[in-house]
Amino acid sequence: MTLNQQFCEMNLSDGKGSMSSVSSVVSSAGWRAADVVADNQFPAGLRVLVVDDDTTCLLVLEKTLRACQYEVTKCNRAEIALSLLREKKNGYDIVLSDVHMPDMDGFKLLEHIGLEMDLPVIMMSVDAGKDVVMKGVTHGACDYLIKPVRIEALKNIWQHVVRKRKNEWKDLEQSGSIEDGDRPQKQAEDADYSSSVNEGNWRNSKKRKDEEEEVEERDDSSTLKKPRVVWSVELHQQFVAAVNQLGIDKAVPKKILELMNVPGLTRENVASHLQKYRLYLRRLSGVSQHQPNLSNSYINPHEATFGPMASLNGLDYQTLSVTAQLPAQSLATLQAAGFGRSNTNPGVSMPLVDQRNLFSFENPKLRFGDGQQQQMSSNKQMNLLHGIPTTMETKQLANLHHSAQSFGTMNMQVNAHGGQRSQSNSFLMQMGQPQSRGQILSETSGEKVLRLPSTMEQPILSSGLAGGVLSRNGIGQNGRAAGYPPVSQTSATLNLPINHAAEFPSNSFPIRSTPGICNLTSKGAFQEEDNSDIKGSAGFIPSYDIFTDLQQHKTHGWELQNVGLTFDPSQLSNSRQTNIDATSLVLDSQGFSSSQSGRNGNASVVNKSLYSAGVGTQLVNAENVGQRLNNLHVDNSIRVKAERVPDPSCPTTLFPEQFGQEDLMSALLRQQQGSMGPAENEFDFDGYSMDNIPV
C-alpha cells in the first residue's frame, strides 16, 4: 500500500476530484507513499497556512516555519484564511491558528475548517490554561501549542498530516470490516512534541483517526480518485435516522452501517462520522456559551437575524439568494445566518439548546400568517433541521440558490434538511424569508411553524434557501451536529432516503465539508419523484437530500403532518417523527400535504424554485412549497408561506385558511409557475456543489 493509494480518496464532494490534499502534497512535495517517513524531502514543502492577528507573532511564525522548510502562507484574519482555504481546496496541508482573534474566534475557525475542509488544525496561544486547551480538544484541534512557539514544536507538525492520511487510507483498506483496532499508530508520537498538551494530543490523534475514516470508499477509491466521501445531507440524514433508531447509546458503527445500507460506505466511514456526530451533540448540549449570538440573531426578526444561522458554515448565502426574488436582505440574512460569516453573527454555532431558542425566535420572526401556524400543523417542523451540522447544509443551501422564481419551494427545501435539524429548518425558514416577509416561525418546542414570509410581491424563495438555510443553521451552528438533540431521534426521519430515486444524484453535492456532521448529501435532494419537475430540479436540489425525501411523498409527502422532522420521504408523514421536532418535518408535511393535492406539479415547481431560490423565503406558496420542501422545514416554511403569503399573485384566500400547503403552494406555484419551471431547478443546484459555492 502506498501512500499514493491512500491519497486517492474518494472525495465525493470535492469537485476537484481525486486527490486529497495529501495527494497534492504528495505531488508537490514529491512524496512517495512508502517513503513518506523515510523520504528525506518530506516534510519539506508541507503547505502551512498560519493565521494570527498579531503581526509580530505572524512574522516570527512565518520565519520559523520557513526554517522548517515548509511552504508558508500567512494571514492575519480568520475570514481571509477561510477564503484562502476555500479557494484552493487542496492547497494546504495544515493550518495553524491563534486562539484569540478579533474578527473570529479561533475555535470557530477551527470548526469551520474541520467541517469544510477537514484539514488538521493546530491552535496556538500564549495562554496555557487547561480549559482553553480542552476547548481545543473538544473542537477538534489536532494540537495546541503555547506561544512563543518553538521551532522544535513546529518541526513535528507534519505528523498530523501524515496521521490523517494514514487513517484515511486505512479506511480504504479496511472498509467494512475492521474494528478500528489498529490505529495504533502514532499515538505515541506526541511524546516528543514540544507542545504542552501531550495528552491532549494523544487523544486528539486518536480522535482524528477515527474521524478520518469517513472517507474512502474503498473499492473505488484508488481508481476513482474522487474526493473523499462527503457526508451529504441525505447521507447524513440516513445516518441520523439510523442512529436514532438504534438509540444514541447503542448506536455502533456496524449496526448503523447496516441500517443505512448505503453501498460503498464503510464501517470506518460511519465510525468516524459517528464520532463527529457525538462531538457535535456534546457540543450542542454543553456549549451554549457560544451561541448567544444565535439566539439573538434569530430574534432579530428580519434579516439580520439570520446571522446565527451562520453556523451553516460558510454557506454562501449569496449563492442561495440568487433568485432575484429574494430580497437582498434575506440573502444577507441568510448568509449571515448560515455562515456565521462576516455578515452576521459569526458565532452562531449554537448548541442545540440554542437552536431551540432559535426556533422560538423564529417563531416570532417567522410568523407567517399567524393563523397559519396551525396549519403548519406540526410545529415541530421547525426543528427539523437542527441537529444536522450544517456544514453540509449550508453548502447545500448555497446550492440552493434558487432560481428566483422557483422559490416557493425553496424554503421547503431547506426544511428538508431541517428535518433533522429542526433548527436548521427553522433557520432556514427564517432565512428563506426575506426578512420582512413572513418570517418563518419555527416553534422551538417542536411546533415550530415555519412561517414563510409572505411577502408576496415576489415570490420569496424561502424555499430552498430557507429550508436549506435553516437546516444549515440548525446544524451548522453547532458545528457538529449537536443540533440533533432536539430532534435527534427524529432525525432519522429526515433521512432522505437515497431511494428517492427520482432525486437528484446524491452525489451531486459535493458537500464535503462537514466532517462529521451532517453532510447532508444532497442526494436527490428532492425526493420529488412525483414531481417530475423535481427531477428537473434535481439539478438544483442536490444538496438537500431532505428535499428529495420530501419529494417523495410527493403529494402526500407533505401531508406529513406530523412529520416533524422525519425526513423520510417515504415516511414523511411520520415516520419518524422522532424527536426531531416534528415541526421541522411538520413543515414539510404540512406545507406539503396541503399542497399535495395534485399540485405536485406545482409543488415541484415550487420546490424547485424554492430550492433554487434557496433563500426564497418566499413564498412557499403552498403547494409547491410544501412539496418540495423536502420535508422538513421546508414544509414548515412553506406552509407558513402559504399562509402568509399574501402574495398578490397568490390568491389570498389560500392562505389563511387553508393553508394547506397545497393551496398555498399552488397559489405560489401559480405565481411562480411562469417563472419557475424546471429550468429553474437547474440552476439551483449547480450552486450546491460545494465547490461552487462562492466563498
Binding site: 498579531d54 503581526t55 509580530t56 507573532c57 520565519k63 520559523t64 526554517a67 496561544s125 512563543p148
Partner: protein, 129 residues
C-alpha cells in the same frame, strides 16, 4: 566584544529569554537582521495595544474583559520577541484583571510600560553596536 557583553547582560538580567535566541537563529543570509526587524515591528505594533490599554484603563468602571483581551494580545506579542520581564508583568496584569482588582491593574500596567520602555532602550543600544 562589547556586543556580546551587552547581549549577555540582557539575558542575565532577565530582560530577554530563549525566544530571543531563537529569533537570532532564524536570521540567515537572506535576512541577516531578522531580530532587529522583528523587534522594530513589535515596538511599532504594540503602540496601538498600549494605547488601547491606556484608554481602557481610564474608563470607569473598568471593563476587565476588554482589558484582559488587550493584555492578552500584548502578552502574545511580547513573548514572541522574548521580552521576558515585559511578559511577566503582563501575566501579573492579567491576574489582577481576573481578580478585578483595579488598583492592581493600574499599578501593574505602569510596570508593564516601564519594562517595555526600558527594554526598548536597551535593544536600541544593542542593535546599534
Amino acid at each position: 566584544r562589547q556586543v556580546s557583553l551587552i547581549r549577555q547582560s540582557l539575558f542575565d538580567q532577565g530582560f530577554l529569554d530563549e525566544q530571543f535566541i531563537q529569533l537570532e537563529e532564524l536570521g540567515d543570509d537572506a535576512n541577516p537582521n531578522f531580530v532587529e526587524e522583528v523587534v522594530s515591528l513589535y515596538y511599532r505594533d504594540s503602540v496601538r495595544l498600549i494605547h488601547n490599554l491606556e484608554q481602557a484603563l481610564e474608563k470607569s468602571p473598568l471593563d476587565y474583559n476588554k482589558l484582559d483581551e488587550y493584555m492578552h494580545q500584548f502578552k502574545g506579542s511580547s513573548s514572541s520577541i522574548g521580552a521576558k520581564k515585559v511578559k511577566a508583568e503582563c501575566t501579573q496584569f492579567k491576574e489582577f484583571c481576573m481578580a478585578e482588582y483595579r488598583e492592581g491593574c493600574m499599578r501593574t500596567f505602569q510596570q508593564v510600560k516601564r519594562e517595555y520602555t526600558t527594554l526598548k532602550k536597551k535593544l536600541e543600544a544593542y542593535f546599534q553596536v
